[in-house]
């Protein structure tokens, strides 16, 4: 399941965020937090759950989420556990090479990392900076 929000004033010049959780509710909730706390200048896509409707992640849904918000400025992916990361890596590997270079999976807690990454992205920062901010997060 993929859900994407493309608000009118979202700038393609800002790094976009993709949230991948085993749970569609967690993914949606994390995306809601980003939109409420950071605003809509940053495009956010989220996906969660396996194709059968249970807990899990789905490579095709992750791929669709990345493609939905893709910008050459970059896409930062936040994941929760195990399969979310490996399936996200598979999805990234399926992207054309020139696009793949602009997509990064962040080693950060999914909710906090998404909010921090989006806050950094809202100021027009590069994907390297956005990823670093997400990964530096310590409560």
């Amino acid at each position: 399941m993929t859900d994407t929000v493309l608000p009118g004033n979202a700038l393609p010049d800002n790094v976009a965020i993709v949230i991948v959780s085993h749970s569609p509710e967690v993914a949606r909730g994390a995306a809601d937090m980003v939109r409420e706390m950071v605003g809509d200048e940053v495009r956010v896509a989220h996906c969660g759950g396996n194709p059968a409707g249970g807990l899990g992640t789905d490579v095709a849904a992750i791929l669709a989420a990345i493609e939905a918000v893709y910008t050459p400025k970059g896409v930062a992916i936040l994941v929760d556990l195990g399969g979310a990361e490996t399936n996200s890596e598979m999805a990234v590997e399926m992207l054309p090479e020139d696009i793949r270079a602009n997509v990064a999976i962040c080693n950060a807690p999914i909710v906090e990392g998404a909010v921090m990454a989006a806050t950094e992205a809202a100021g027009g920062s590069s994907l390297v900076e956005v990823r670093a901010t997400a990964e530096e997060f310590r409560s």
Partner: protein, 94 residues
Amino acid sequence: MSGGDAAVGQARIDDPTGLHARPAVKLTKLAKGFAAAVEIRAGADGAWVNAKSPNAVMKLKAGHGQTLHVRADGDDAAAAVAALVALVKRNFDG
């Protein structure tokens, strides 16, 4: 910070929860809109931190009643300080 146009300001944090997550994000986003280097500290004894760093601002954990000090250095330093002070004074509304 030295040289160029420098500005300073301060405002008291009225929010009962202090500089919590949403205000921290708002302050960071606002600071990022200025070219000047912008720093803040909680109280006169606090360490100055980069107001454009989401992690630094989130970690500041400035409490209710504390004074947030703002300083900026650069072409739009005065505007940056005025904007951040105004944000704190309106209790991070809007």
